[in-house]
Every structure is written in structure tokens, then in C-alpha cells.
Symmetry: C2
Subunit: 229 residues, 2 copies
DNA sequence: ATCAAAATTCTTGCATACAATAATGTTGAC
DNA sequence: GTCAACATTATTGTATGCAAGAATTTTGAT
């Protein structure tokens, strides 16, 4: 997997803005001012505007004609809907993985699982977050459907800020770890129905999960409603 | 649902190019020349380039740094993968619809179903295509998950050229019609498992379906491999 | 003081200009 | 004739300029 040099301001700025939005550096509904941002990045408005177009594609910003570009947080309802879909997509990946997984896929999952355990033992949330992502990404790839894996990755990325908050809930990491173990075992056993059920349960926002998400949601969005930058 | 007057060249061009690509007016891998297209649309390169960024988001074109913008057809393998995912997404929509559908959703489906029958009776493939889309869109909406409905709609749109070809296969329309009937009945009965199974079967590319798709795929892409415009 | 209309300022959308890189063509050595 | 080095052309990426629309402020009537 070679890295393409890609020295294009448009791309650099798109990535930077994506990161900033996902990290919550802007308020919901905040207008992305072209001139101040172009000063901030040291570029002209042209690459900025191109980056806006790309960002609109992933739904991170909304382009309103003759009004400007506005960052758009999904509503709590949107997030719940996205988690519902994510749960099903993950379940689907897992079902395929249980049937199609190859040896290298198994190793990738095992490595990620080990990293999860290590991060949990050290109580390192950041590391757990990364290892968790890698575990799930390994399942996506093991599905043997690259389009599906891409969609799953995209959605996972979009839900990043909200999942992150869920992990901070007391005891969630230990529970997550146990779930990972069951998921992995079911995949290795080739029990696609079990994998599907475990993954759906692992991702879904139900019961306490919903309360945790709602609390986390308010924590993320609540503090930055008025404007910044 | 008010329409916003969106007099922006970038948007107009994005839509036009999207249509042209989906309709197969470009060859696979063809470079979209900025100057000739800007002449063709009577605009400068700026809105064109912005449209390219937006199109890249939906995967219709590939932006290669310092090389240009190239239309990208999915490979046959890609298409099969996309249909697999589409089948699952539709099944999911149907499952939700069976449980959550309201009276207006039911009416929308019935109307679309009626239109399908009418188009089939008149052997009007174009009309059948539209009514078919409306029937499926009604199911998406009936799912009660707007995010899911949006994703389904997006994927449906992307598969448009390939589905169109499948419908031309002899007897396919009659079969499709019968399947629609069973899907509708199962939704009304609230039998989510049956809906799911029927939809999966309806969409999936398996057995003869695969052969039909492959033949259609070669028919679409085969003729335009070398370049146009 | 309140509100509407006009004037002003700000911002977006687009065209154009120009620099940097890639593609193409040409020349010359062997 | 082949191929490499150089020159030329074409094309992309970005900055800048300008016009049209939106937001804001000012003005004036009541």
C-alpha cells in the first residue's frame, strides 16, 4: 500500500477540516468563513471552496447557496439512526466474515484483540479506541466484500466522536472487551448467526446504551452551540 | 417539501455530469477535460472543478493529483458486491417497514405497485423502471429510519444503469411484479422475516441473475471503453 | 422610540491570470 | 533506427479580481 504524495492544498485542507469538525472544534451550525479560514491555512479561497464541496459529500457540512458553508452536527435522533444502521452493517460484515475469512484475516483480528486487551489493562482509552477500530476494520475486511468494507469504514468514521464518548462510560471498556472475545470466537467457529447477533448487540444503542449515548451527545454538542474560531 | 432555487453553476454541472456518467455517456477511465467541458457548459473551470470534488465523493470520478479527473466505472466484481449490499439494505428497510409502517406508507406502496402493474401491462420499460423505483423508495421511507432511507436511495441510484439492464431480460418484469406483490403482502402482514427474505431474493444477483447482470454489464461498458466527447 | 426603506458593507460565486507540473514533441548521439 | 536529453506545449492547481446577492447599518418618516 504505497502512499501517494498528493501535495494538493485542497486535500490537505479537506483532511484538516474533517478532523476539526469531527473533533468538535466548531459549533453546530457554525458558518465556516472563507476569508478567515483561508488566512488560517495560508491559502486562497479556491482550494478551501473545493474542500467544502468534498466535505458536503460526507455530510459534515451543508452548503447553502449564496449563504455559505455551515458545519452540521447530526441530531441525537440522526445519531441513533446511524448507530442502528451501523449495527446492521457490522452484523452483515461479521456474517460474511464467519463464512469467508482467510488465515490472514484471523491473524489481523487476533492482533487487534490483543491490542485491545493491552490498552484495557493499562486503562489507556486512546489506545483502546485505536485498537477497537482496528478490530472492527479487520472484520470489515474479512467480509470479503470491499464495497461493504468501505461503507462500514465510512460510517464508523462518521460515528467516531459519539463512540468515543460511549467508551468513557464506567465499565464500558471491560464489557466491550468481553463482547469482542465472543464475536471473535463466533467468527472463528463460523457461526454466522451468532456473530451477527453478537455484533448487533455490541454496536446497538439500546437501553442503558441509549442513555449513555444521549448523555455523551449533550456533552459533545452542548458546550459549543454558540460559535467559535 | 419546498424546492430551493439553487442557481449555482457548480450544482447544475454536478447534476448534469452525474447524469451523463450514470447514463454511460463517457467511457470508463475517460478523462474529463476541464477546458472542453467548461466550453460545453459555458462556464469557467472553477465551478467545474468544484463539481468534480463533489462527484468524487460519490465515487463516480477519481481525482488524480496533477493528472486530472477520470470517470470510474465499477468493475463487474464491484457491481456484484454493491448488489449484495443493496439486497441487505433493502431487506433491512423491509424488516423495519414491516414493524413500523404507517397508513400513508401503505398507500404510497400501493400506488407504486399499481403503477408497476400498469407499466408492465403496457410493456413500458421506462415507466416500469420509474414505478419500481417509487415502490422501493416507499419501502425505504416506511422503514422509519431516514438515514437508512438516504443510504438506500444513494445506493439504488448508483446501481441504476445496471438494474435497468436487468429489467430488459425476457420475463424479468413479470417475475419482478410477482415479487413485489409478495413483498407488499409480507409488509402488510407485519412478517418481518418474510419481507427480509423476499427482498433479499428480489435484489440479489445469484444464479441466472448473475449471468443476466454479467451480460448486461458487458453490454453497457463494452461499447464505450475507448473514449468519447 | 419604532419601523421601513435606502445605502453601505460583507460574502459568495465565478471568471481570469499565472505558476508549476506533466505530457508531448524534437533533436542529436550512438 | 533507437533512445535519451532537452525544448515545447498542454493541463492542472491556486491566487486574484470582480460582479451579484445577502447581511448590516444608516437614515428618515411617523
Amino acid at each position: 500500500m504505497q502512499e501517494i504524495p498528493d501535495h494538493r492544498r485542497t486535500d490537505r485542507i479537506r483532511e484538516a477540516l474533517e478532523e476539526m469538525i469531527v473533533e468538535g472544534r466548531f459549533a453546530d451550525g457554525e458558518r465556516l468563513d472563507e476569508v478567515s479560514l483561508s488566512k488560517h491555512f495560508g491559502v486562497s479561497r479556491t482550494p478551501l471552496r473545493e474542500a467544502f464541496q468534498a466535505l458536503a459529500g460526507s455530510g459534515l457540512v451543508e452548503l447553502r447557496a449564496r449563504r455559505g458553508t455551515f458545519v452540521r452536527f447530526p441530531s441525537l435522533e440522526d445519531v441513533v439512526e446511524m448507530f442502528d444502521v451501523m449495527a446492521e452493517i457490522e452484523a452483515l460484515c461479521g456474517r460474511y466474515a464467519a463464512r469467508r475469512m482467510g488465515p490472514s484475516d484471523r491473524i489481523a483480528m487476533q492482533v487487534a484483540l490483543r491490542d485491545c486487551e493491552k490498552a484495557a489493562a493499562e486503562n489507556d482509552i486512546e489506545a483502546y479506541y485505536r485498537a477497537n477500530h482496528e478490530f472492527h476494520a479487520a472484520i470489515y475486511r474479512a467480509s470479503g466484500n470491499r464495497f461493504l468494507a468501505g461503507e462500514a469504514e465510512r460510517l464508523h468514521r462518521r460515528l467516531k466522536p459519539f463512540r468515543r464518548l460511549q467508551l468513557r462510560v464506567r465499565g464500558r471498556i471491560q464489557a466491550s472487551l468481553a463482547e469482542h472475545g465472543r464475536i471473535f470466537d463466533a467468527i472463528v467457529a463460523g457461526d454466522d448467526a451468532a456473530v451477527s447477533a453478537e455484533l448487533r448487540r455490541h454496536i446497538a444503542v439500546q437501553g442503558d446504551g441509549f442513555a449513555d449515548l444521549a448523555a455523551g451527545y449533550r456533552a459533545t454538542t452542548g458546550g459549543k452551540r454558540t460559535g467559535a474560531m
